[in-house]
């Protein structure tokens, strides 16, 4: 086991991070002069090219959690980690085929623009903004808590100071530089992350003569055949299917991702940008998986798990082994930048739901001027930034991994069905949209609270560990007794048969006791870990039923105009 400097303030990482902060603040200063109107604040004046937006989309999506988390999962669980990474990519083709172009042609700044296109503005915007805000908030809490823990683990900076640093920088980007600064922060971060990961993979593969076959045979040599086979991650097919739905269609319902399509000039650039984004993200996951396998062999699971039980430090540890503290410092700074960029994107999406959808669309009934809306959006940015810091501190030390799952479940249940039906279905109505969004939102949230992830692992954590402790006690006792009997048997061979019987009885008794103890195990009220299969289907069904029950002549008439604009882009902003 080699020594690691992880967790100590590293001069190199501080210098790299300072450079990143100075650079991005410089960009923010430049962007501030170009961020006066709503179009500039929310959509960077629609001046971003398809390629740039592709990088920025990738930047929004490749969080520190996925970089460190997937590399860690692969290093600890092998093939199961790879399964997970596939799920994170497959939503992007769906965005390309069904969402990107109609979204760009029909909307202005938020996906609520599209849902409300031919429906009653106020109720629909209120519902869509709720879906957006809940998605953004859960995603944000997960990011902030992850950020505090990660920065503490890497730099030794106290949790609270880390959160305040992240919060202040992210407020500065969004408040002064709006979407233009946020986009460039994303682009720089994406280039750094992809570049850093590429260098790390080249250094890793160099150790194996640039042969994946060699990498895998070494992995099998150390950890056995099981390491390259699907294991325990997918136990129930229904659960796997449900998680798949959430990942696939949740991606197509993430407000901060959808919002990025308004930064490009037209639908053609929007479609190009998803193609680039899918390529970058797919490439990134292949790199991350390689890093995970490399870390398992070159660092070793023992050290990886000693630093962090979940394996989150696998990638930084590998960087240290291969490139020393300089490369570790660089990668740590990149991870910090990654967190910063993702929360900035989330804050902007949340702020636009508050100002564009709730304030202007609902409170002011669509009547507002540019100046006022930008002011409200900026106030919302500050409020959200402070909320993010406070929530991060409130949830310190809590298990928040389920919150990303919850964000995806809400995105695929509340946001995606309403969006798709409003684009494609002539008979979709206000009643249908509102009912669908609130059904998806509440079902996804409630079912997650009742699921094994929250109900058993978090709410009834103590009961669960009590049961686990009791089971262990029973097993230990039985083992002790068996060892005793074994010793007897060795001493006194004449009583062999009766000792065998006694051993058998001991085993049976222990098994019965374990079974009884386990019957006290708290049970989840809802059996699936991810509710998408229920909540998403329910949102579609409720949307259809309410639309058919409460037809809306005006919405139906306006569908032709919507269709023309959606396909051809006439009248698109």
């Amino acid at each position: 086991m080699h020594e690691t400097t992880i967790g100590q303030a590293n001069a190199v990482s501080i210098i790299f991070f300072m450079l990143f902060v100075l650079g991005t603040l410089g960009i923010t200063y430049w962007a501030a002069k170009r961020t006066r109107t709503t179009k500039e604040f929310y959509a960077a004046g629609r001046s971003i090219t398809g390629f740039q937006n592709g990088l920025a989309l990738a930047g929004d999506y490749m969080s520190a959690a996925s970089f460190l988390g997937i590399a860690g999962l692969v290093s600890v669980s092998g093939y199961d980690g790879l399964i997970y990474s596939v799920g994170w990519l497959v939503g992007w083709p769906i965005v390309t085929f069904l969402i990107a172009e109609p979204l760009r042609n029909l909307g202005k700044y938020t996906f609520a623009d599209v849902v409300a296109f031919r429906l009653n503005q106020r109720p629909v915007r209120a519902a869509a903004a709720s879906g957006s805000l809940i998605t953004v908030l859960f995603y944000m809490i997960a990011q902030m808590v992850g950020a505090g823990t990660l920065i503490k683990l890497m730099f030794g900076l106290p949790y609270e100071s880390a959160l305040i640093t992240v919060g202040i920088l992210m407020i500065a980007y969004v408040l002064f530089g709006g979407m233009l600064a946020t986009t460039w922060v994303q682009i720089i971060k994406a280039v750094l992350l992809l570049g850093g990961a590429t260098v790390l993979v080249i250094m890793t593969l160099y150790q194996f003569g640039f042969s994946y076959g060699e990498l895998f045979s070494q992995a099998v040599k150390t950890y056995g055949d099981k390491f390259l086979e699907p294991g325990g991650l997918v136990t129930s097919p229904v659960d796997a299917f449900s998680l798949g739905l959430a990942l696939m269609f949740g991606t197509a319902g993430l407000p901060h991702i959808l919002m990025r399509f308004y930064t490009v000039p037209d639908a053609k650039e929007a479609r190009k940008s998803v193609f680039y984004a899918t390529g970058f993200i797919g490439y990134f996951y292949i790199l991350t998986v390689t890093i995970g396998f490399g870390a398992a062999i070159l660092v070793g699971q023992k050290l990886i798990k000693a630093i962090d039980a979940g394996g989150n430090m696998a990638a930084p540890l590998l960087a240290e082994v291969l490139g020393g503290s300089v490369f570790l410092g660089f990668l740590a700074a990149v991870a910090f930048a990654t967190i910063l960029a993702v929360v900035a994107g989330l804050t902007l999406a949340g702020a636009s739901a508050l100002s564009h959808d709730l304030y202007v669309g609902v409170i002011r009934r669509g009547v507002s001027n540019e100046k006022e809306e930008v002011k409200v959006a900026k106030t919302a940015t500050i409020a959200l930034g402070i909320a993010a810091i406070i929530l991060g501190i409130v949830f310190k030390g809590q298990n928040v991994a389920f919150m990303v799952g919850l964000a995806f479940a809400v995105a695929c249940s509340a946001n995606f069905p309403a969006l798709v039906m409003s684009i494609m279905w002539r008979k979709f109505t206000t009643a249908g949209a509102v009912a669908s969004i609130y059904t998806g939102l509440s079902l996804a949230t409630i079912l997650i609270l009742l699921s094994p992830t929250v109900w058993v692992d978090i709410i009834h954590k103590n009961e669960k560990s009590a049961v686990m402790a009791e089971v262990k006690q029973i097993e230990d006792r039985a083992k002790e007794k068996l060892a005793e009997l074994e010793a007897f048997k060795a001493m006194d061979t004449t009583r062999g048969v009766s000792i065998d019987t006694e051993m058998l009885l001991t085993k049976e008794k222990a098994d019965a006791e374990v079974k009884e103890a386990k019957s006290k195990m708290p049970k989840a009220i809802f059996p699936l870990k991810n509710p998408a299969i229920i909540s998403m289907l329910a949102a579609f069904l409720v949307g259809i039923i309410f639309s058919l029950l409460r037809p809306e002549k005006r919405a139906e008439q306006k569908f032709e105009e919507e269709k023309l604009r959606s396909y051809v882009g006439i009248g698109a902003e």
């Binding site: 093939y79 390309t96 076959g213 699907p230 796997a240 798949g244 996951y285 032709e560 051809v568 006439i570």
Partner: protein
């Protein structure tokens, strides 16, 4: 651009019908392929783990599951590429034709 025809008229135009019909088919077909690709992979994991655990070559370590997983990622990207290529060439030509008609 001046709109001389109503949206209703344009929607009845054969050029628009061709454009929307083609786009709908391409989008639906590609979406179904992507769904089959991913949920096929999930089904293999759920119902046929031994298949994925087979070794790719005698004496090698790499299992069939690895190229299948990586292949799913790469194929997904290729599918988006197919769509974008089609849209940039064929679809945009049709869009231009319809727009020219309206602009009249």
């Amino acid at each position: 651009m001046k709109e001389q025809k109503t949206a209703h008229d344009i929607l009845q135009d054969p050029d628009f019908k061709k454009l929307s019909g083609q786009k709908d088919s391409i989008s639906v077909i590609l979406t179904i392929i992507e769904l089959l690709l991913y949920f096929g992979f999930i089904a293999l994991i759920a119902f046929n783990k031994p298949f994925l655990a087979q070794k790719l070559s005698e004496g090698g370590a790499t299992t069939i599951g690895i190229p299948i997983a990586i292949g799913t990622i790469i194929l997904s990207w290729i599918l988006t590429g197919i769509y974008v290529r089609w849209a940039n060439t064929k679809y945009d030509t049709l869009v231009k034709r319809v727009k020219d008609k309206i602009g009249g």
